[in-house]
């Protein structure tokens, strides 16, 4: 049998499902020895790995809650050194440790460490600034957020841990809003128009980043791929909520344009094959219809008729969302 024939034969067997990629890897690893394809031998291994990962995640949650309670209950007793040690100290140690754990078998552990670090480090910096009576104004916000974005962006570049993309994006978003607040000389809490437009734009940026970064990777590692898909979905959802949430609150003439944006979200959900995006778009379409009905048609048709019409439209949108999701997203993504 020629080499090409052998390859074609193997391809056929893979496509028919008789052998898997892991069987091939097993053959090459064992140097042509016995095929390590018994599912039974893998299941306990995977189960123990999953159990370990769950313990890591629970550990992260417990550690963070523990630190917060420790600081809150013993703020005065532990003193300045203690406060810095449990926040910035642990943040720094976990950051360095996570960077040093490079092997793929420590993926969850290193990401757990990075999570602890990303939560405790900003807390530690605020504690430090508070100790030195430094007013946390908008300039401090800008410096802090950019600094943290660079630190965690560097860790992302070095370690390629997926969780770091979330932290880098989060700190960059903080920097983005701090810059806008600085330029317009406004507080974060003011519901000004510029914040709404800025939020819509950052939402669009999230969607583009998610599409760009998480669609172009040939990812051989299943666990890595799973994480990337999860982060992609988080960014798609946050982006859609940001665009539609800020857009619905603009009002005026934009109410008309907003309808087109909602339908663009429906189209994007099909294009990107993303169920969460279509569900969010459906919720916002229903909200917008109710808003427009109460704003423009309530006086002319009255409450009862408005409720009946709105009820039917809501049912229609609900079914449309379900249909599009089933027909164009779930089926095609199989």
């Amino acid at each position: 049998m020629e080499k090409q024939q052998i390859i074609s034969f193997i391809k056929e067997q893979i496509l028919s499902g008789k052998i898997s990629n892991s069987d091939l890897i097993g053959i090459t690893n064992n140097g042509g020895g016995e095929i390590n394809s018994t599912e039974e031998s893998k299941v306990p291994n995977n189960n123990s790995r999953n159990l370990t990962n769950i313990f890591y995640v629970i550990g992260v949650a417990i550690a963070i809650i523990g630190v917060i309670i420790l600081i809150a209950q013993n703020w005065d007793e532990i003193g300045f050194a203690g406060r810095i040690l449990v926040t910035l100290g642990i943040g720094l140690v976990t950051y360095i440790t996570a960077l040093l754990i490079k092997g793929s078998e420590h993926r969850v552990l290193s990401q757990s460490m990075f999570t602890i670090s990303a939560i405790l480090s900003p807390m530690g910096i605020f504690v430090l600034l508070n100790e030195y009576n430094i007013n946390i104004d908008i300039n401090i916000n800008i410096i802090l957020s950019i600094g943290l974005a660079i630190v965690y962006g560097f860790a992302l570049y070095m370690s390629k841990r997926n969780i770091l993309s979330i932290f880098t994006i989060a700190f960059s978003t903080w920097a983005y809003y701090a810059f806008i607040a600085k330029i317009f000389d406004i507080g974060y809490l003011y519901g000004t128009d510029i914040i709404k437009w800025a939020t819509m734009l950052i939402g669009l940026a999230y969607i583009l980043i998610a599409y760009g970064y998480y669609s172009n990777n040939d990812i051989p590692d299943k666990a890595d791929k799973k994480e990337k898909v999860a982060i992609k979905n988080i960014l798609y959802s946050l982006g859609t909520i940001a665009i539609l949430g800020a857009g619905i609150s603009v009002g005026g003439f934009f109410d008309i344009i907003f309808i087109a944006i909602i339908f663009a979200a429906f189209y994007a959900s099909i294009f990107l094959k993303n169920s969460s995006m279509i569900i969010i778009a459906g919720i916002f379409l229903i909200s917008h219809i109710l808003k427009l009905t109460s704003k423009y048609f309530l006086d002319s048709i009255g409450w009862p008729i408005a409720l009946i019409i709105s009820g039917f439209i809501v049912m229609g949108v609900g079914y449309l969302t379900y249909y599009i999701n089933k027909r164009f997203i779930k089926e095609t993504s199989l």
Partner: protein
Amino acid sequence: MKKENITLIIGIALPIIFIIIISLVIYLPSLSINPKYDFIYSINDNNYYYIKDENDKEIKKTYYLYDIENNTSHKIESVDIEKYSLDPGPSSPDGYTVSYGYDNNGIFEIFGSNSNRNGYYISKGNARKRLGGLNPNQQYYYNGSFELIGWIK
């Protein structure tokens, strides 16, 4: 370059470009504002209630000198005003005016204004600059409480 890479670059660049554009839109016009003359103004600190003296005639006001170079206000006594040679205005000798305004910023004007940036501005033509020294506690200043006494020549 792959399509995905382009979207990634656009996604990262979009917020940065947005910040650069709004910075330019806000800061560029104010760069052409370069007034030279300080001015004296009065503020009715008690807003709606005029303070009268013991003769029940004179309305007491608080007077300030606005240092245009440093963007600061300094309280002065009414007797000190006579020491200065004043141009009553309302425009300064170099053509600037001070007025209460709303913060409609360039391209965002069509989308509404930013109410917490309302305050006093110095302007010439279409360009204007917020008078930082006149708006430290905006809530106490409202349109109408400000009165320009004159530009110091």
